[in-house]
């Protein structure tokens, strides 16, 4: 296999894009059962806005390139023509990235007390 040229610039390697963050969250919430279709379905349920399967796959692989998830092939299945699934799982750095993202947002929310409490009131 030839050298695969990374399409991700070095500076972006530890950044977490919005879609990436959502998908990483989905992977975490699915626990042991995170693979292409389940991520796609769960994300669709939560956001109400379904993505294409290709977008899900691309993002999952990009997360893997960044080291936020890792993956293993599962065993043979009874469904889907007996084809195996690739399961994804968040890594430590993935969870750390989610945390830091949440912290950044939280700290911003705190600077806007009115809006923060308005949300709390509802």
């Amino acid at each position: 296999m030839g050298v695969r040229i990374s399409l991700i610039k070095k500076a972006e390697m530890d950044q977490l894009g919005t879609l990436e963050e959502l998908i990483l969250l989905t992977v975490c919430s699915l626990g042991e059962d995170a693979y292409g279709v389940s991520v796609h379905q769960k994300l669709g349920e939560h956001t109400g806005r379904p993505l294409t399967l290709g977008a899900v796959h691309t993002t999952l692989y990009r997360l893997q390139d960044k080291g936020f998830v890792d993956s293993t092939m599962g065993g043979a299945t009874n469904t889907r023509g007996g084809r195996r699934k690739r399961y994804f799982r968040a890594t430590g750095s993935g969870i750390a990235a989610l945390r830091s993202s949440r912290d950044v947002r939280k700290s911003f929310w705190k600077t806007i007390p009115a809006m923060d409490s308005a949300v709390a009131l509802r």
Binding site: G36, G54, H57, Y61
Partner: protein, 885 residues
């Protein structure tokens, strides 16, 4: 929901995308995901919505990072593989020498013919492209209705004044040149006199065109009246090694010209006749030519307008501006109408529209394409041969294909290999074709339609680099046409079938194709052959035509400016001369002098066009014409005073008069208003070319218009008679050489005759090729058929079949095929031959005989091809073929 491994509900497009583009690394995961999500959607919603969504999903997976890598990057240009293809191809040719040579012979002969025509057309198409501004040069031609014509016609010429007018009035015109033909006569210098056919040109001639002068200054050579530029060949004829510059020559003993320039070479590839160029100012200096140069409708027949456009001028714009000049400058007069002036790129003249008064002889585009399509048809026949033969032999190759596939060859490898084999065959054919062309070239150039154009085909492999490109293109296109289908067909075989030895491979897909190819080939051959036979018969018919007048032992002598009576007195002294008569135009040669015939009281529309001849009193007797009624002409009946003339039977018919006897003494109107009394009626004879119907004719006594003498020589003394004519001519002390022709020869070599002969030679040659190639193909298929059925035949013979029934068995298929070809081709051939014959007024009836002859010829050749094979097989001893089993 459980789906088995083979069961999928994914749309085919999705699977195809996945197979084609998804890397094997991701294939399983993605395919599984797609299957699963599709099932989910199918269960919850509509099928069509799910199919749409899954399609979008599949497309969204087409990412660079999931793309399939090329399986083995090092096969990008596998030289070793090609070496192997070449080896296999050569081996296969060697093993099947007979088939290979049938293919190569057929292909090379048809390629040679095709190439010659392609090169000839190419040479015509590139005429006049050497000029520096070739792409900016245009010619203006006219759509004109002359007063003597009923309809408008295209002329290559345009009004003489147009050239200068365009240069002055139309922006975007850099320069314009006026060329005028009719620089004719006998060019004389110190006792040498040679016929001349040159042009007049304005000084801008050398600004427009890239002709170079060896001596003389192009800027000044055509300025003063009486300047003359010659080609090296002409200079050689008159001056030898002497320097021609400044020498004074004369035309027909009259106007004097000074040589002011010599072209650097003769062989410019141009449509402009170059042998002699005189300055246009010569014409302008002559008083009496002014009207012919200035008035638009009078000067429209002989002047060619060439224009050099500037880089940014558009032809459409120039066209509009030229058109706008017509109402301003063209004064309609005597029913002359200039419908249009058309601007045409100079490169379009050759192979362009056919039109009158064309500047040089060129092949019209339509004729060129007709020739090319004939050649292409022959080439296709040869290609079909290749296809038919290869497919019919597929059984033999199927094992090879099977074994190759077992060893891992993919279908594309096999296809490439077979295409490669075809390329090898077509390359060999082209090589052979190149040799054949050397041999065909002189024969082709000697045909009159080629020699008339002045473009002799020259195949020069050293000078002409484009030639190689043509050859390579040829090899590849033939290989593609001939090799594509067999390659696809042969590469389809499955190893299992091949090894099992499925007995009739060729019978499955190839058979129908092969049969239709045989039918097409034979139909084409038959059509060609029948058309050729009818052409040959027409030509023979014309050669032996009964013109209705005497031509034997008659020699026609051109009078030029010698008074006819003087020549007659001189020549009549010889004992070898029987009689002399005079005439204005030689009949049946296609030359004519128009005359409108009408009766008093008829309107202009009711008049009929015919031709008039000026003759003397001996004309009727000398040409052995039949005077049906009335009296012959006498010197007392000089037309301009007596207004009496002879007419032919057709004239009586168009005038609506009765029989010959009762018409004598009647009066009709010749031309606009001349009332002429019919002195006598002559039996119709072929006064016009054989392509045309006999026209209405008037024969008037006009002693001063006898341009030709018909000299009848005592039978058996032709040579002596001609000597006497020469002696008489010399005795009169005329500066010109005598111009004479034997009437019989003149008629045989007339333009129409030569054209017909050319046509049937060319078409006949192509017909012969088509038949030959088709029969080669038939021979190949027949011999293969026999080979395949050897055992069957042997068993039949052992069981008691006789030779006759075996032959019948083997040839039945071909008889049916040839029968179908006959049904298809006979109506088409009939139609084509008849359409061609309509061109001739004097023609044969296309009888059953012609068709039957063509048919018989093809059948005899075809059956000798099949017969040799079948009879051999039928006579063979069964023991020889069966003893192995």
């Amino acid at each position: 929901m459980t789906t088995g491994p083979e069961h999928t509900r994914l749309p085919a497009l999705v699977l195809w995308l996945l197979n084609r583009f998804c890397s094997s690394e991701h294939y399983e995961e993605f395919r599984g995901d797609l299957e699963e999500i599709h099932e989910l959607r199918l269960q919850s919603g509509s099928g069509s919505g799910a199919r749409l969504l899954i399609g979008l999903d599949a497309i969204s997976m087409l990412r660079v990072r999931f793309r399939r890598q090329r399986e083995s990057p090092h096969t990008l240009f596998p030289i070793g593989m090609f070496r192997n293809y070449l080896l296999v191809a050569l081996r296969s040719l060697k093993r099947h020498v007979a088939f290979a040579s049938i293919n190569i012979i057929g292909l090379s002969v048809s390629m040679a013919v095709c190439l010659i025509l392609i090169l000839f057309i190419r040479q015509n198409a590139t005429q006049d492209e050497f000029h520096e501004n070739a792409d900016r040069l245009v010619r203006v031609y006219s759509d004109f209705k002359a007063s003597f014509n009923r309809d408008n016609a295209l002329y290559g010429t345009s009004p003489a004044a147009l050239s200068e007018l365009m240069a002055q009035e139309i922006p975007g015109v850099v320069a314009s040149a006026n060329i005028r033909d009719g620089f004719r006569g006998t060019l004389e210098y110190e006792g040498v006199g040679l016929p001349l056919n040159g042009i007049y040109a304005t000084p801008s001639f050398f600004d427009l065109f890239s002709f170079k002068l060896k001596s003389g200054d192009p800027a000044t050579a055509l300025i003063s009246p009486g300047s003359l530029i010659l080609t090296p060949t002409e200079v050689q004829k008159f001056f030898g090694e002497e320097d021609p510059m400044g020498k004074v020559m004369s035309i027909s003993g009259g106007r004097e010209y000074t040589v002011t320039g010599v072209l650097d070479r003769d062989d410019y590839d141009t449509i402009i006749p170059l042998s002699a160029i005189a300055s246009y100012s010569t014409l302008q200096a002559e008083e009496n030519t002014q009207d012919m140069l200035e008035t638009w409708f009078q000067s429209i027949y002989r002047s060619y307008t060439f224009v050099h456009l500037s880089e940014n001028a558009s032809i459409d714009d120039i066209q509009e501006r030229v058109r706008a000049l017509i109402p301003v400058y063209f004064a309609e007069q005597n029913d002359n109408k200039l419908h249009d002036l058309i601007v045409q790129p100079m490169s379009d003249i050759s192979l362009g529209k056919a039109m009158g008064n064309e500047i040089g002889v060129s092949i019209p585009g339509a004729a060129a394409w007709f020739l090319a399509s004939l050649a292409l048809m022959v080439l296709l026949t040869a290609c079909f041969n290749y296809v038919g033969l290869t497919v019919s032999r597929s059984l033999k190759r199927s094992r090879e294909v099977g074994v190759r596939k077992v060893f891992g060859a993919s279908r594309s490898h096999i296809t490439t290999q077979f295409i490669f084999e075809t390329i090898v065959v077509s390359s060999l054919s082209v090589l052979l074709a190149v040799f054949l062309m050397q041999w065909l070239e002189p024969a082709f150039n000697s045909m009159s339609f080629v020699s008339q154009t002045g473009i002799t085909l020259s195949i020069d492999y050293f000078k002409d680099g484009g030639l190689y490109l043509v050859l390579v293109m040829f090899v590849l296109s033939v290989a593609l046409i001939a090799g594509f289908y067999p390659a696809l067909f042969l590469s389809r075989f499955q190893p299992a079938d091949a090894v099992k030895g499925v007995s009739d491979m060729s019978g499955r897909g190839g058979s129908r194709l092969r049969k239709s190819l045989v039918v097409i080939q034979f139909s084409v051959s038959l059509i060609f052959l029948i058309v050729t036979v009818s052409m040959v018969r027409q030509a023979k018919h014309m050669e032996s035509a009964d013109y209705g007048f005497a031509q034997k032992n008659i020699v026609n002598v051109r009078m030029f400016d010698v008074p006819f009576t003087r020549f007659k007195d001189q020549v009549s002294r010889s004992a070898n001369i029987e009689m002399v008569s005079g005439i204005s135009i030689i009949p049946a040669m296609g030359s004519r002098s128009d005359l409108w015939f009408s009766m008093p009281g008829m309107t202009e529309e009711e008049a009929t066009k015919g031709y008039q001849f000026s003759v003397d009193e001996n004309f009727v007797e000398n040409l052995e014409l039949v005077l049906l009624a009335g009296t012959n002409l006498t010197p007392a009946m000089e037309f301009d005073t007596a207004r009496k003339a002879l007419v032919n039977e057709t004239a009586l018919r168009v005038l609506g008069l009765g029989g010959p006897a009762e018409s004598v003494g009647e009066t009709f109107i010749a031309g606009d208003s001349t009332r002429v009394e019919i002195a006598g009626v002559i039996k119709d004879f072929r006064s016009d070319a054989l392509t045309n119907a006999i026209p209405a004719n008037m024969f008037a006594y006009r002693a001063d218009r006898l341009a030709w003498a018909n000299v009848k020589i005592v039978p058996g003394r032709l040579d002596e008679g001609i000597e006497d004519i020469r002696a008489a001519w010399t005795a009169m002390g005329h500066s010109r050489n005598v111009n004479l022709a034997v009437f019989e020869t003149q008629l045989k070599e007339s333009f129409t005759m030569l054209m017909v002969q050319d046509m049937y030679r060319l078409i006949g040659f192509i017909a012969m090729l088509a038949v030959l190639i088709a029969c080669l193909g038939l021979l190949g298929i027949a011999s293969f058929n026999v080979e395949r059925r050897t055992k069957e035949i042997s068993i039949r013979k052992v069981l008691g079949a006789d030779v006759q029934s075996v032959v019948k068995l083997l040839s039945r298929e071909f008889i049916i095929l040839i029968g179908i070809s006959t049904l298809v081709s006979v109506p088409i051939a009939w139609f084509i031959a008849n359409a061609w014959l309509q061109e001739f007024e004097y023609r044969i009836d296309l009888g059953v005989g012609t068709i039957a002859f063509g048919l018989l010829a093809v059948l005899v050749i075809a059956f000798s091809a099949i017969g040799s094979q079948t009879i051999k097989a039928a006579l063979a001893n069964p023991v020889d073929n069966l003893h192995d089993d």
